[in-house]
């Protein structure tokens, strides 16, 4: 009779409950479907969807750092936009130096130039993030009011420093040759650069999930999000961990800034602060601190902006605010609220 082992009984919630828990996942396809019905023409829809996803991916890259920083230490960096601009300016400096690589039709040289620019931008913003954390954020840990004010001050100062270093004028730079123009699929024109942006965004999302779920530092970050004090009590220096995450988040903002700059082909010191509006909306929709929520929120905002931008151009920004209102009425803490155990 030794075969009849006592097994723990694992309660499986009914299917309907699982589905309700996963509803946010269906929002993106649902929005695409509504978009298709509203737009009517399939090829236009495909173009707009590609544009929306590309925009969403870039916003996700910029927003992901912000949301993890918040999740870990309850710090919201209103100066995050400054790192977007800083990254764009640093990247464009490299692109400007590598003018020959960009103008050549070889895709390898083009990508090489972008890669170098991205690497430099991430290095600069990561280091700037180190300084920002030490000088501006660290003295006001745990004091939300001062934190908001001080990081806002940091934004002003960083923007002014960009003026000091790169001058007050905007910088215009054409996209690398091989990334100009578009592919034509099913009569729909899809810009090549957007495909690249989608690819980078997806790769980054996958990599982030992998790091967070499989590596030791990811484990610590997830534990820190749930209960920072306990992580500290177990002997891990959460301040150091936070510093690393802060620098990584700033480097991601820099990456997003370069990509956004190449996409727009012009950069200004204010561009970061402008994109931050969408970034904040995305972070609020997704639930502060949640990577998955941030990803879904970014896709929704990107798609909705492009759909309404086509249907009623004047209302594209307002529509995302409305989306935020609807989501908050449904889930007041965002799509995936981060559960804190303390």
């Amino acid at each position: 009779m030794s075969n009849s082992l006592i097994k723990p009984r694992i309660e499986r919630p009914p299917l309907s409950q699982i589905l309700i828990g996963k509803t946010p996942l269906f929002l993106v396809p649902l929005l695409m479907l509504i978009g298709l019905l509203a737009i009517g023409s399939g090829s236009t829809w495909l173009t707009l969807t590609a544009a929306g996803l590309a925009m969403g991916m870039m916003i996700f890259i910029m927003a992901s750092g912000l949301t993890v920083i918040f999740g870990l230490m309850d710090v919201i960096n209103f100066g995050h936009g400054a790192f977007i601009s800083l990254g764009a300016f640093a990247g464009f400096t490299i692109l400007g130096l590598l003018g020959g690589w960009i103008e050549s039709p070889s895709i390898a040289l083009n990508l090489g130039a972008i890669l170098l620019a991205v690497a430099f931008a991430m290095l600069v913003t990561g280091l700037a993030g180190y300084g920002f954390e030490r000088l501006i954020v660290k003295p006001v840990y745990g004091e939300h009011l001062k934190q908001i004010l001080v990081t806002m001050g940091g934004l002003v100062v960083t923007q002014q420093l960009i003026y000091v270093i790169w001058g007050p004028d905007e910088i215009v730079l054409a996209r690398p040759t091989a990334l100009q123009g578009s592919f034509v699929i099913f009569e729909a024109a899809i810009e090549k650069y957007r495909v690249l942006a989608i690819a980078i965004g997806l790769a980054l999302f996958a990599a982030m999930r992998l790091v967070l779920s499989k590596t030791r530092i990811g484990l610590l970050v997830r534990a820190g999000v749930q209960n920072g004090e306990m992580v500290e009590a177990l002997g891990y220096p959460i301040q150091k961990l936070f510093l690393v995450v802060f620098m990584a988040g700033c480097a991601l903002a820099g990456l997003g800034g370069v990509m956004w700059g190449i996409y727009q082909e012009t950069i200004t010191a204010h561009m970061g602060a402008e994109v931050m509006i969408s970034v904040f909306i995305v972070v609020i929709i997704g639930g502060l601190g949640s990577i998955e929520g941030c990803f879904i929120g970014a896709m929704l905002v990107g798609l909705l902006t492009n759909y309404t931008g086509f249907l009623v151009p004047k209302l594209s920004l307002i529509s995302t605010i409305l989306l935020m209102g609807i989501v908050l009425m449904w889930r007041p803490q965002g799509l995936y609220p981060v559960v804190k155990t303390h």
Binding site: I136, V140, Q160, L317, I321
Partner: protein, 351 residues
């Protein structure tokens, strides 16, 4: 009598009282002390911004709530008056109607935002207001058939309020007593009464509850005050007063556009003024505004001199270039949050 007007909120420092008295007298006799259109314009701006910044202090300094939508409410008030004057012609009825409608709209809007976001976290409210205010700015710039878009609206105000109207033919103390002067005094006394109303609010039992929320929201809730209710009312009040000050600037400038009322630059200015002046004291707003506007013009001159004397050094001379005055004020802002969280007023009172 004076203590009653000030709602018992004494400046609590001899130096501060003297400085405040100087400012009030300076503003009261500005047209005679500093003749000229430009200085009158600065004086009117100071009056209006004192109200705007003080109403922001009701939220930031007294309740401990950070909002980035204050320029939005300022703009709603300005556009309310501007739209009424544009569409109904230059009449007092238009001014009254526009001002009331603007204030009501601002209050309603503030109530909706408060309803959505005050329940969760302070940070949430800050992010939400930033997003909504930026979207509002974009919307106003795009709806050009109503708001005039980026160009804004220019309109006429009643003749008795312009330079064309002369109350007496002769000059008084070398100053022409014309409509512009009347408008200045309308703005001065409106600002003064709004400021005194704000003082009344913060020194009432309601204001004490707000301060309790700022110090410890959890404890305030435990004593039995509904934190969400009180902070929502504070948000609405500060929005309404901001809208009223917006109406004043619409009347003074005879022009309303996104750059003069709604832009984020003004929001940053408000933040700088209140933090440097001193959060949590209405007098901080007065000191902050005056100090900021003086610094803004003189710091540029000072930096210009500094740049000329440095001359050749490449980066350093950029840093002290007159256009970079905001850099220095930004650094001052960060330092004052660390070391003087009560601003100049706290410093003066501390001795």
């Amino acid at each position: 009598m004076i203590m009653k007007l000030l709602s018992g909120d004494h400046p609590r420092s001899k130096t501060l009282s003297i400085v405040l008295l100087l400012i009030v007298f300076g503003l009261l006799f500005a047209p005679f002390l500093f003749p000229g259109t430009r200085s009158l314009d600065t004086a009117a701006r100071i009056c209006i911004f004192i109200v705007l910044v003080a109403s922001y202090d009701l939220l930031l300094g007294y309740t401990g709530v950070v909002s980035f939508a204050h320029t939005m409410f300022f703009g709603i008030g300005a556009y309310g008056t501007a739209l009424a004057l544009t569409n109904m012609g230059a009449s007092y009825a238009a001014i009254a109607l526009g001002t009331v409608c603007g204030a009501l709209a601002a209050g309603l809007f503030a109530f909706m935002i408060a309803l959505f976001s005050l329940r969760v976290k302070a940070i949430f409210f800050a992010m939400m207001t930033l997003a909504v205010a930026s979207a509002f700015l974009v919307l106003v710039s795009q709806l050009s058939w109503i708001t005039g878009g980026e160009d804004g609206l220019s309109y006429r105000i009643p003749r008795e309020m312009t330079t064309a109207y002369k109350l007496v033919q002769d000059k008084f103390l070398n100053v022409r007593i014309n409509g512009k002067l009347i408008t200045y005094y309308v703005i001065f006394f409106s600002s003064l009464s709004l400021f005194l109303i704000l003082l009344r609010i913060v020194n009432s039992p309601f204001g004490r509850v707000l301060q309790a929320i700022r110090e410890n929201a959890f404890r305030a809730e435990a004593i039995g005050y509904k934190v969400v209710h009180y902070s929502s009312v504070a948000t609405v009040l500060s929005a309404v007063i901001a809208a009223l000050s917006g109406s004043l600037i619409a009347i003074w400038l005879r022009y309303t556009g996104p750059a003069t009322t709604l832009s984020m630059d003004i929001m940053v200015d408000i933040l700088l003024m209140i933090v440097i002046g001193g959060m949590g004291s209405m007098y901080g707003a007065v000191i902050g505004v005056v100090l900021f506007l003086i610094t803004q013009s003189y710091l540029q001159n000072l930096l210009g001199i500094l740049q000329e004397s440095l001359g050749s050094l490449p980066i350093v001379s950029e840093v002290v270039s007159p256009e970079r005055w905001l850099l220095w004020l930004g650094i001052l802002f960060i330092c004052s949050i660390y070391w003087f969280p009560k601003g100049v007023v706290g410093r003066i009172r501390g001795g």
